[in-house]
């Protein structure tokens, strides 16, 4: 595949061989290519972690924020230039742990952004501590007797907060992941795509084999506008459903709620009359 989002030269990718992130990168690049997003209309945002490196490998403008803070930075970008397609990519630790409070309140604020979370159920970059989504009993050099915390359930949290779009994908299925990402980007409002991602170095429980055995795709019978059903799916943990759990298009987006963009969609920085207006006001 050749796209404007590919680097002309080969980039040095700092992931372990076999890491699920490679497939997510591929699906993401295919998706933004197929969506025909103009290169000057896309901004990628991330925090810190293995997942957060993803935008480095895409030829797009990119804001690399602090660990846990990708969503507030993405909101700021959207507030200043709603014309942009904003895709925030980070890991489960970054998004649900350090940035957990931002996750909750970004869903409530509902900016029109896509939030891709590489969920490998571990802290990859810092070498294998438990993350908020690690399963009970998961042993690490820090959780020496195993995790005893209830795993964080991003799907249930997002549905309960009436998020605009809630989906789960699986890294290794590039075609399906690509399709889900495309729908998420096209959705108007905050769109969560939690992607199960094997970490071959530090998660020996949730392996490629494990995901194969413990996931299934939702079929056409699922009505994504049914919130109660979506909630049921979010709680399924016998086998984990993949696909679009929930869509809610009834809430206005953050940008639509801003008076500054009510009658004028032009980004604030492009409005030349602002200075004049300030002067008039001061005079």
């Amino acid at each position: 595949m050749n796209s404007v989002f590919d680097f002309k030269d080969t980039v040095d990718i700092a992931w372990c061989p076999g890491c699920g992130n490679f497939s997510i990168l591929k699906a993401l690049k295919l998706a933004i290519n197929e969506l025909n997003i103009a290169q000057d209309k896309l901004v990628m945002v991330s925090g810190i972690g293995q997942a957060a490196k993803t935008p480095q490998y895409i030829r797009a403008n990119f804001f690399n924020g602090l660990h846990g803070r990708s969503l507030p930075a993405a909101t700021g970008i959207k507030a200043s230039n709603p014309e942009l397609t904003v895709i925030a990519v980070s890991g489960d630790g970054c998004t649900y742990g350090e940035g957990g409070n931002h996750f909750i309140h970004t869903i409530r604020r509902n900016p029109d952004i896509t939030n891709i979370v590489h969920n490998n159920m571990v802290y990859g970059l810092t070498k294998g501590q438990a993350s908020p989504t690690s399963e009970r009993g998961f042993k690490t050099p820090v959780q020496v007797t195993g995790v005893y915390l209830e795993p964080f359930n991003p799907m249930a949290v997002a549905v309960s907060l009436n998020a605009s779009f809630v989906a789960r994908a699986y890294a290794a299925d590039i075609e399906q992941t690509k399709e889900i990402i495309k729908k998420a980007v096209n959705n108007r409002g905050y769109s969560l795509v939690d992607i199960f991602q094997p970490c071959v170095s530090f998660n020996k429980i949730n392996t490629y084999q494990w995901y194969k055995e413990n996931t299934y795709y939702l079929d056409n019978n699922h009505d994504p506008y049914d919130r109660e059903k979506a909630m049921h799916l979010a709680f399924e943990n016998n086998r984990f459903p993949l696909g679009i759990f929930y869509i809610n298009n009834t809430n206005k987006t953050f940008e639509e709620n801003l008076p500054a963009y009510k009658d004028n969609k032009l980004p604030l920085f492009q409005r030349s009359n602002i200075r004049k207006k300030i002067k008039e006001f001061l005079d």
Binding site: L66, H67, E98, T126, A130, V142
Partner: protein, 353 residues
């Protein structure tokens, strides 16, 4: 006592446990993860609590809670995570709660890198959080000193009811050296101020807010007097080959070790160089620097930053003699040969003038 061969990061943990630390709250970050690993394994065995929090902010607030009920408590992180702890450190200072905070510095600003650096000197010594407070800061230069100063930090924290920082870096944190640990503490100090459940006595309130500025002003002056006490009693430094020196390097932490290496080299060529190594960064050993200034030609300040401790040196020297600076910021690690070159150069300049 047996000699052990241990990394700096593990030694923080062992020393803390021996000092009676019963609680460790932290969040992973390179280059100090081995400290969390050590605590997770050994603290529960010593009857304590290890907890990996959801963020550094959570960890420092857990520290407040544990300290408020009178426990010896520690948290650790590296530079970006220490920034997140600042509001809590300010709060601990305001409430006069003892705690030990370890910073294993890395390159900055922002996320920087994961190499050793000394860019957090201002943050550590100026009170990185808001308000009029100071934090005693110990700067170990070896694994042995990590053990000794971490142990001591708990005593200082309790004695003065203040948060105390141990400021190290990725180099000493990850380095392995022989170390002898202090004996396990037997009796911890009484803390009659701790929140232990009211019982029949008067209720205790721990809050740092008061609507009346006069109350807060009084509180600030009280803290100020405490800081004066700490300055008087707790300043620590090492001098190395300063007796006959014409030119003296000032450096702390791993930079001081590198400077020592450089001094050994130039001494072979007959250059009379020495070293003053601040062990406490606040309180800063201003007096010895001031007193020595009248006996030598020049100071050279070495730091792994663009010059932060330099300010304290200049304040101490008060313009008496020249102060030259050489720094490597952002995680670049200098070599003894590099420092030696600087000393040669400055020495030659001095003999010409």
């Amino acid at each position: 006592m047996n000699k052990e061969f241990m990394s700096g990061n593990h030694s923080f943990g062992e020393a803390a446990i021996r000092a009676g630390c019963k609680h460790y709250f932290g969040y992973p970050i390179t280059p100090q993860n081995e400290l969390g690993e050590y605590m997770s394994e050994h603290l529960p065995k010593a009857g304590g609590v290890f907890l990996q929090s959801e963020s550094e902010t959570a960890a420092i607030n857990m520290v407040e809670g544990a300290s408020a009920v009178g426990a010896r408590v520690m948290t650790s992180s590296s530079s970006p995570g220490i920034s997140l702890k600042q509001e809590g450190i300010s709060y601990l200072a305001g409430l006069e709660l003892p705690a030990v905070i370890v910073n294993v510095m890395r390159g900055g600003p922002g996320l920087g890198d994961i190499s050793a650096a000394q860019g957090d000197y201002f943050q550590a010594t100026r009170g990185g959080g808001h308000g009029d407070y100071r934090t005693p800061v110990y700067a170990p230069a070896s694994v042995q000193e990590i053990a000794d100063l971490t142990y001591k930090a708990f005593d200082t924290a309790d004695k003065y009811r203040t948060p105390v920082m141990v400021l190290s870096d990725g180099l000493i944190g990850q380095m392995k050296e022989p170390v002898v640990f202090p004996k396990k503490i037997e009796k911890l100090p009484e803390k009659e101020w701790a929140l232990r459940g009211m019982g029949s006595g008067p209720s205790r309130l721990m809050a740092s807010f008061h609507i009346d500025p006069a109350v807060i002003e009084r509180h600030n002056w009280k803290l100020f007097r405490k800081y004066q006490e700490i300055e008087k009693n707790e300043t620590m430094y090492e001098t190395y080959m300063t007796d006959d020196a014409d030119i003296i390097a000032i450096a702390y932490g791993c930079t001081a070790r590198i400077a020592k290496g450089a001094i050994k080299r130039v001494r072979k060529d007959g250059i009379k160089a020495g070293l003053i190594r601040p062990i406490t960064l606040w309180p800063f050993p201003s007096q010895i620097i001031k007193d020595t200034a009248s006996k030598i030609k020049k100071y050279i300040v070495f730091e792994m930053s663009t010059g932060q401790m330099l300010d304290d040196v200049l304040l101490a020297v008060e313009g008496r003699i020249k102060v030259q600076f050489h720094g490597r910021p952002g995680g670049a690690i200098p070599t003894p040969a590099e420092f030696a070159r600087i000393i040669y150069r400055e020495y030659q300049l001095e003999s010409k003038s």
